[in-house]
């Protein structure tokens, strides 16, 4: 139970063990643990970065979708507007054309009527001249003449 040379021996044993354990046990293990914790930290950071990137991409996608929808809406509205414009244009054109056709037809009718009137007038004049010739050629008989003229007129109109 006394202090003796064992004390010196134990100091040597302890110091040797300390140096050896530091070299073989503590050194490799603590290096390893540090490496592992660095690796884990790195992995966690990467996971965080990935999550962030995903959130960003999601937001971007949503933004793009919104924009596309808006654009589609715009295109649709423009197309509708253009369609109604075209419809109106066509309607107007058709109405104009119809008016022109009606006008041309009425002008033609008028021309036809005036031509007919002229022809009629010429014929009436010719008939009148023919009737006058007949009246002159025959004796003047009021009853007969009248009846003749009437006949001629009736005849002429009937032919006309």
């Amino acid at each position: 139970m006394s202090i003796d040379l064992t004390f010196i021996g134990q100091i040597i044993v302890f110091m040797t063990l300390l140096i050896l354990l530091r070299k073989f046990l503590y050194g490799p293990l603590s290096t390893l643990m540090e490496q592992r914790s660095a690796k884990i930290a790195e992995g966690l950071a990467a996971a965080d970065a990935g999550k962030e990137a995903k959130a960003k991409a999601d937001a971007e996608a949503a933004e793009q979708l919104k924009e596309a929808r808006k654009k589609a809406q715009e295109i649709l509205a423009a197309a509708e507007k253009r369609a109604s414009e075209i419809q109106e244009e066509v309607t107007n054109k058709a109405r104009d054309e119809a008016g022109q056709i009606v006008q041309a037809a009425s002008e033609e009718v008028e021309a036809e009527v005036s031509r007919a009137r002229q022809v009629l007038r010429k014929e009436v004049a010719g008939i009148a001249i023919a009737a006058a010739e007949r009246v002159i050629n025959s004796e003047l008989d009021a009853k007969r003449h009248t009846k003749l003229i009437d006949d001629v007129v009736a005849q002429g109109f009937g032919n006309a």
């Binding site: 003796d4 064992t6 004390f7 134990q10 302890f14 046990l25 390893l32």
Partner: protein, 281 residues
């Protein structure tokens, strides 16, 4: 029979070391071969285990022995980091060595009390003490190593402050703050007293460190021997009672061994961290 055989020399008979004496007249010139042999064997096994483990370390998910050692290293690292104001790469391995070595030594107590000495007697040895921490030399050697390290760091990191503390504590205010010249003179006169008090304070550290471990383990050993005598000498009832008491004491003593290893480690760290504490002005 058993009673007579073991009762003859009493407990003291079983507390002798396997000793080699260089010089019979000088009690210092002897060596406890059992303590030396056990420590060297345990230390070699520990180093062998470390080398074996070092070969199969993986930085992926640890398992088995590596996991176990990593948890111990992590625990020691945390303890050191919590207590230290600065980083010193030498402290954690020191704490680890202290903890593991003392714990393994204390664990030898789980072997039956007479196993080692009876085995040794087969080889013709008269005495063999199985637990080296029961030998004051081992705790004292470790405590002195720690103490020398504390002194080394005190002188290396803050030589002026440490010398001032040696000479001026605890009666510093008499010399430094006093206005009265007579009181100041008294302060100067008290410097030797300060030195003595401070030396006692410092020397108490390794002394208490070593005697705490030694006392706990030695008392445990003595109680084991008492229980063993009860077991061997008391007939059927005594043997049954001795068996259960011995079992209970084994468990308790294992816990004490772990606790003492932890206390030795934490005090080592604390003493060294005090030495590393920056000097306050």
């Amino acid at each position: 029979m058993a009673q007579e055989e073991h009762g003859a020399g009493g407990i003291a008979e079983h507390l002798n070391y396997w000793t080699y004496k260089f010089d019979d007249s000088n009690p210092f010139m002897q060596i406890h071969l059992d303590t030396m042999l056990t420590t060297v064997v345990v230390a070699s096994l520990l180093v062998g285990f470390s080398i074996w483990l070092g070969r199969r370390l993986t930085d992926g998910a640890p398992s088995g022995a590596q996991n176990f050692m990593e948890s111990i290293v992590g625990f020691v690292d945390d303890t050191v980091r919590d207590n230290f104001p600065v980083h010193n790469p030498f402290i954690a391995p020191l704490a680890l060595t202290v903890f593991v070595f003392i714990f393994l030594m204390n664990c030898l107590d789980i072997f039956p009390a007479f196993l080692f000495s009876h085995t040794a007697s087969l080889f013709g040895l008269e005495h063999y003490r199985q637990v080296p921490t029961n030998d004051l030399n081992l705790p004292a050697a470790m405590a002195v190593c720690v103490f020398l390290m504390v002194l080394y760091y005190e002188f290396k990191l803050k030589p002026v402050h440490f010398c001032k503390e040696l000479l001026l504590q605890p009666f510093a205010s008499l010399l430094l703050d006093a206005k009265n010249p007579i009181v100041k003179l008294l302060g100067v006169a008290l410097i030797p007293l300060n030195l003595v008090l401070k030396l006692v304070e410092e020397l108490a550290k390794p002394l208490s460190l070593s005697f705490r471990l030694f006392g706990n383990m030695f008392a445990g050993e003595v109680i084991f021997l008492l229980i063993a005598f009860l077991l061997l000498g008391g007939g059927v009832v005594g043997m049954t009672a001795g068996f259960f008491v011995g079992l209970g004491w084994s468990m308790f003593h294992m816990f004490i061994g772990l606790l003492q290893a932890f206390i030795f480690m934490i005090l080592t760290v604390v003493y060294l961290s005090i030495a590393h504490q920056p000097a306050e002005h």
